[in-house]
């Protein structure tokens, strides 16, 4: 991969790839500053009309608050489950370890439409449809594999000798974990948090199956909005989301570095 990394051809190729990936997203920006009553490009009139209208839309605002709280809860629970699970899967040696790891990360491979349907069928019976705990559980099914993967990778790249060193210096196992393993896993944990939060906040397909009239998430409401209306309100909402996401990534990059956070081995 290093071959020609600095050549002009390579730069051009990367530029084109970025343009291909980002072009649709960039399109949203001019449209969000439209004052037209319909989605059109280029806009006939410019302004902040729809940014101003956003806070007045009770349905979207309520869904936004639900999604924020949901993503926060799901992230906290993902970490609480993924950290001990990853530790057990990476550090302990037991029969069926590889099999368990595959099982835990299998949902990553399933189409979410299938997962959504399956969850719907189960939730109907146990009365979890359109409830907050139901949404939390459904989202955990998707975020947990991500969190587990990232944290297990972070843990796997830590040389066990460092933990051995702590043990020989007199630290009992839990102290080793708290004082040595956990701080060294921090980049992985931060990355897992960011991923869990974004995946949960962004989740549409599964949520569509289980939300109800009284409890809905932001992406679902955005989806419903564009089904029935054609004004640029959603473009304004999208721009706010994009800027917020870039903000999170920048903070991550500044504090620990995204490359490191996503599991590139950090040398001791």
């Amino acid at each position: 991969m290093d071959i020609g990394r600095n050549s002009q051809g390579f730069t051009l190729l990367v530029g084109l790839l970025f343009a291909f990936l980002l072009a649709p997203v960039l399109f949203v920006f001019p449209i969000s500053f439209s004052n037209d009553p319909f989605l059109a490009f280029p806009p006939q009139s410019w302004g902040f009309k729809y940014f101003a209208a956003l806070p007045r839309n009770a349905v979207l605002m309520s869904a936004f608050r639900t999604s924020l709280a949901l993503a926060a809860t799901v992230t906290a629970l993902s970490l609480a489950l993924a950290v001990p699970a990853a530790y057990a899967l990476v550090r302990l040696d037991f029969r069926g370890r590889d099999w368990l790891m595959s099982l835990f990360t299998a949902p990553l491979l399933l189409p979410s439409i299938v997962l959504g349907l399956a969850i719907l069928l189960v939730f109907v019976r146990v009365d979890l449809l359109a409830t907050y705990p139901g949404l939390v559980i459904a989202h955990l099914v998707v975020t947990l594999p991500y969190a587990l993967r990232v944290i297990a990778t972070a843990l796997g790249t830590l040389p066990p000798a460092i933990e051995d060193a702590a043990a020989t210096l007199g630290a009992p196992p839990f102290t080793v974990f708290r004082r040595v393993t956990l701080p060294m896993m921090m980049p992985g944990i931060v990355a897992a948090s960011a991923l869990s939060f974004l995946v949960s906040f962004d989740e549409v397909v599964i949520s569509l199956f289980i939300v109800g009239p009284k409890l809905s998430t932001f992406p679902v409401e955005m989806f419903r909005y564009v089904e029935t209306r054609t004004d640029p309100l959603i473009a304004a909402a999208s721009v706010i989301l994009i800027v917020a996401t870039i903000g999170i990534v920048l903070v991550l990059e500044r504090s620990i570095g995204v490359a490191r956070a996503l599991g590139k081995a950090s040398q001791p």
């Binding site: 460092i162 043990a167 009992p172 060294m184 921090m186 950090s266 001791p268």
Partner: protein, 376 residues
């Protein structure tokens, strides 16, 4: 030169009398992985303040022995006693040991001072004392000014000295060193050899040192335990290991040696093809043996016939097939018939007296003819 050769006697080996009590005792220590035996019934007693090397090629079980001693790997059988206390079933954090790893294993998220302080914190040493002892330990490894640095800001040698300070600051009952010099470059390794030896002597700490490097083992340690395929094959002083190796494997592994295979014809006489060689000690007549001679113990005479045959030397005629200039020595490969022997001679300024194709005479003392019954 001739007189010195003839007058040399069997190296006298003083009986290993050491009044110090045993401090680390491994008794019938064993490690099995399913059917594979990594360490087989190992017995070793390290005296108080003694510095012992576990020497052997990779896979000989030396690291496993060290890790069992540290408690990082459970022993399959046997006992480990440190200072009279049976620690066989204790976890590492209750064994009171200092361990220095090959790759340093410093805590990357802590400063140098925090790394060194870690073991003291675990022992609930009062804060004020921690600061003092950390400073002492860093001064001991000549890193007094580096307390606030992060490990990654230090060179490999400095990191290894931090690791040493971290292991020593807790004043452990024993010090374990797992190939601590292997990741350093040659020059630094030599410095660290002296430094570790000095510190070990000054503190008088009982030390077990795992290495595959014979020079390290010979130059640093009081005694060497040579391991082969999970077994301890010889325990002795560096002098004993080098001069009187008990197996051909050891002669070959520790230092370099020329090998010739032969049969004992009578006591002290071995037949190697058409040649007849003398040795001081030989097994029973008719035994197939391997003979080993150190390259630098062989004298090379440029003109055959100049050396007189003598009962206390071996004399062979051969032809030089290769000469190699290594700076401080010349290596000559000499074909003597049943094999090629390598001879080493210190270089001197001036013209080169021996060249390829020359007929030469090799001579060495019978004392330097090592005879083994194993042929690895």
């Amino acid at each position: 030169m001739m007189t010195s050769l003839i007058d040399r006697d069997m190296p006298t080996i003083a009986p290993a009398h050491d009044p110090r009590p045993d401090h680390l005792v491994l008794e019938g220590l064993e490690k099995r992985y399913d059917k594979v035996v990594a360490v087989a019934a190992l017995d070793l007693a390290v005296r108080q303040g003694e510095f012992i090397a576990l020497l052997g090629p990779s896979g000989c079980g030396k690291t496993t022995t060290l890790r069992m001693t540290a408690g990082l790997v459970p022993a399959s059988a046997g006992r480990i006693v440190i200072g009279g206390r049976d620690v066989t079933h204790l976890p590492p954090y209750r064994r009171d040991i200092g361990l220095v790893f090959q790759n340093y294993a410093l805590f990357p998220h802590m400063t140098v001072a925090e790394n060194v302080a870690f073991g003291l914190e675990m022992r609930k040493v009062p804060k004020a004392d921690i600061g003092k002892r950390v400073a002492e330990a860093l001064a001991l490894v000549r890193l007094a000014q580096y307390g606030e640095r992060r490990p990654r800001e230090l060179s490999g040698g400095q990191q290894q000295r931090v690791a040493l300070a971290r292991a020593l600051v807790i004043r452990p009952s024993i010090l374990l060193l797992d190939e601590p010099l292997s990741n350093l470059d040659a020059k630094l390794r030599e410095e660290m050899r002296t430094e570790i030896r000095e510190i070990q002597r000054r503190l008088g700490i009982t030390t077990l040192f795992v290495t595959h490097d014979q020079v390290e083992a010979l130059s640093m340690c009081d005694r060497i335990a040579v391991m082969q395929a999970g077994e301890l094959v010889q325990l002795g002083t560096p002098f004993e290991i080098y001069e009187r190796p008990r197996r051909a494997f050891i002669a070959d592994f520790v230092g370099r040696s020329n090998k010739l295979d032969g049969i004992v014809r009578e006591a002290g006489v071995i037949e190697v093809g058409p040649l007849t060689l003398r040795a001081t000690e030989t097994p029973a007549r008719g035994t197939e043996v391997r003979i080993s001679v150190r390259p630098h113990r062989i004298h090379i005479h440029p003109h055959p016939g100049s050396a007189r045959p003598h009962a206390r030397t071996n004399l062979l005629v051969g032809r030089v097939v290769r000469t190699t200039y290594v700076g401080d020595v010349f290596q000559y490969d000499v074909d003597v018939g049943p094999g090629v022997m390598q001879v080493e001679k210190p270089t001197a300024a001036g013209p080169q007296p021996i060249s390829r194709g020359d007929e030469v005479e090799l001579e060495w003392s019978v004392v330097d003819t090592l005879v083994f019954e194993d042929r690895p």
